[in-house]
Symmetry: C2
Subunit: 467 residues, 2 copies
């Protein structure tokens, strides 16, 4: 067969790149679990009716169909016939399947239910940097049955900022989390006299792509404001502060509304809590321009930019929604944030900005003295593994120079030499004793199988950055 070529939009990693991704996922998992979030996975496929329910048809859903299914057969409940009520599609995010999971298992879950979910999702959109057809997301959400206290907004933000901070320790670029509150916006627009605050929000949300003077005109033509009201909305959107300083600047605009007060108090609470966190390399700002396009957000909203990679768009977004799901008996409000693992890592890894110190887990390669004494080398490896030291044995009793190069190519830092059974022309090992060589420095010392260990920094592959 001819050499296969990569599939556009379906990024894959080499082993050393996967080590970086695995380390990122491990760190996220550790932070989420330390905060009591339960990990779940949901199936990759959902009924198409569910996937399209929220009018998200522009998400370019992938339909799945059994190769041997009778087209349109009603007998096959997962036939993949896109005309059928029971057709399946691959999930395009982790929120829709989570909402379905909560409803399906509502009697078996304890609320408030906090879960994390790190899984792939699929979208048939045109591939471009930071946008893929297959990608990994890491979501956290806290969901209540009937009600969910506001302090969970603060908690979800705190957990994700902590997680982002742990990622920047890996030399992932600094992050800027932007926070806003939809109640603040809606209350402000209502206090200003807007008849349709959501129309105002939809226009202001375009500030990223459309010049301010055009927005000002659109606020008049599309959202029914007069010129003064439009200017005041733009003044609100221009407010950005690293702390609770935004409150005074909002009040200076002279608009009053109960919902605005609630929004100001909520955003202040989030900003105050985040300021207390020890999270270097993660900047938090209250940005009154942030609205999030999606209609289901009802309070706190988040977006995140990665420094130097702002063109990727937000790499971590979410917010408060009053109704994640509704089963007729209960409404399930929630708050959550979704981190784009692939959106962060694919650009960094393909540019060589991040690299693992080796392509294998092994800290030690045990050399083979002669093919007849391979079992001696295997016994050394077994002994090291019982003490948690990842170890492999050289493929064959070739010249030590060749065995050392085997380790070098993979970045394995240590080569272990069992005692030479007989005199050898190689002088790497003294007969009669085990020796271990740090092949980076060339230092070689006698070592005991039962007690030697590599320095902690060499036990597992590490991640290094190349700015």
């Amino acid at each position: 067969m001819s050499k296969p070529t990569p599939l556009s939009g379906f990024p894959e990693f080499l082993p050393s790149q996967r080590i970086v991704e695995q380390e990122v996922i491990d760190r996220l998992r550790t932070v989420f679990e330390l905060h009591g979030f339960a990990g779940i996975e949901t199936r990759a496929a959902e009924p198409m009716a569910e996937l399209l329910r929220k009018g998200e048809i522009d998400k370019e859903v992938y339909v799945v169909r059994r190769l041997h299914a009778e087209p349109g057969s009603a007998a096959d409940d997962v036939s993949g016939d896109s005309g059928s009520r029971d057709t399946l599609g691959l999930h395009y995010d982790l929120t829709v399947p989570f909402a379905r999971y909560v409803l399906e298992n509502s009697g078996k879950l304890d609320f408030p239910f906090r879960r994390y979910q790190i899984q792939k999702a699929w979208r048939g959109e045109r591939p471009q940097e930071g946008r893929f057809r297959e990608f990994t997301q890491a979501d956290i959400d806290i969901v209540g049955a009937g009600e969910l206290a506001f302090h969970y907004d603060v908690e979800v933000a705190t957990v994700m900022v902590t997680a982002l901070s742990r990622l920047t320790e890996l030399q992932i670029p600094p992050m800027r989390l932007q926070v806003n509150n939809r109640k603040l916006l809606e209350g402000f627009y209502l206090g200003l006299g807007a008849n349709d605050p959501h129309a105002v929000m939809r226009v202001v949300d375009k500030l990223d792509k459309v010049p301010a003077d055009v927005i000002a005109r659109m606020l008049q033509t599309d959202a029914g404001l007069d010129a003064d009201q439009a200017a005041t909305c733009l003044a609100l959107a221009a407010i950005s502060s690293p702390d609770a300083g935004f409150v005074a600047r909002v009040r200076a605009l002279g608009v009053e509304h109960d919902l605005l007060e609630t929004g100001l108090a909520e955003l202040t609470a989030v900003m105050t809590a985040l300021a207390e966190l020890d999270a270097p390399n993660v900047t938090v700002t209250a940005d009154l321009r942030i609205a999030r396009g999606l209609d289901y957000y009802t309070g706190t909203v988040f977006e995140t930019q990665m420094s130097g990679f702002e063109h990727l768009g937000s790499i971590c977004s979410g917010g408060r929604y009053d109704a994640l799901a509704d089963d007729g008996r209960n409404v399930y409000p929630g708050v959550g944030i979704s981190l784009g693992v692939s959106r962060i890592l694919v650009p960094l890894l393909t540019r060589g900005r991040l690299e693992a110190s080796r392509s294998v887990p092994s800290a030690v390669l045990v050399a083979v003295v002669s093919d007849e004494t391979r079992d001696v080398s295997e016994a050394v490896a077994r002994a090291l593994r019982t003490r948690g030291i990842a170890t492999e044995v050289a493929p064959a009793a070739s010249r030590y120079g060749k065995q050392i190069r085997f380790a070098q190519r993979r970045g394995i830092p240590f080569v272990w030499f069992p005692p030479a059974a007989t005199d050898s022309s190689d002088d790497a090992a003294a007969p009669g004793e085990h020796q271990v060589r740090d092949i980076r420095s060339g230092d070689q010392v006698a070592a005991d199988v039962g007690s030697w260990a590599p320095p902690d920094a060499d036990l597992r592959p590490t991640v290094t950055a190349h700015p």
Copy 2:
């Protein structure tokens, strides 16, 4: 929306069940990495031409198609149109994508390349116990470029037996690994005078489902043997031994062939190495009946039964193949084993045979004394988390009895009481000091936020069995 119902063949776990699955996957990963296997993931979708290349059309491949793709459009390279050369399907195992990955990246991988891969796969087959439409597999393979020494057969078997043994420590039922060697079988049949040893193998492979006397007749009608030869083949298939004892029993059948000798030596080497392993609860037998249906195996072959669940079929299978892939310049021989994580876990978890000690990672719930002092409880939680103790804070300052029940429902073993700010009618906490209660025993002691830790056994959820 109405309550959703599960999708047949797409098993999902509740949070406490997922804890068991995650523990299984963590243990597998630990063993694989200790042996130097690099973890990779491949994309979920492969070109249909690749998936169907080996005539595996009976695997019921799921075709994926963009909802908005023009049917048959050649312009869309991943249109999902099943008539197109570039149509995609979901992978039905991890071997086909791995072979493609090796070819695609052959210039960037170091051979012999050892990898593990723990991922989902999809097959549109009829769901039944142990067979699913979406399932998780854990594969290990070692692949060479051009050649691969036999000792890797021994190594792959050793690693998987070690991994299985670590699973049985979780009270997963005992396992029986059955080993055979295709060279032994082929050499034996050739030495016996069979013209078509593969035809003999295919008939003998049916011994699971077809009575021996019928097999004896089929060997004559379908594989061209005479009655004596057929009887000798059945005598070979009846040989099973827990050690190298099979060699003498094979020799007693009086058949000679060079390939038989090679097979006997290889199987002896595998059996001898596995006998030396400290792997309680994993029995290893040389079973000369095992052939594995797939034609691509060329040497060592493995199957595994789980005690009490033999009706599931083999839960862990694999073997040696001389050509995993071939790019015209190199042939890539390999040896690998695939473990059915879902096949093992779904039956055990749905029957309640295995259970996690709690449904959340949290070891501690910090009670909230009053809604105004929630920050005191949050500070306790932060301090515990910095020392690796998974902690959550109670939802509200309700009565302590209610807060304790919140922990009980989730199986959280400890409740932490911050000092009561004022006199309280609840007597759980003495004013002025932090206390922590083991809610299983009711024991409550004063505790210091900076030094208290739960017993190691309570730090993380544990897995218990209910036979």
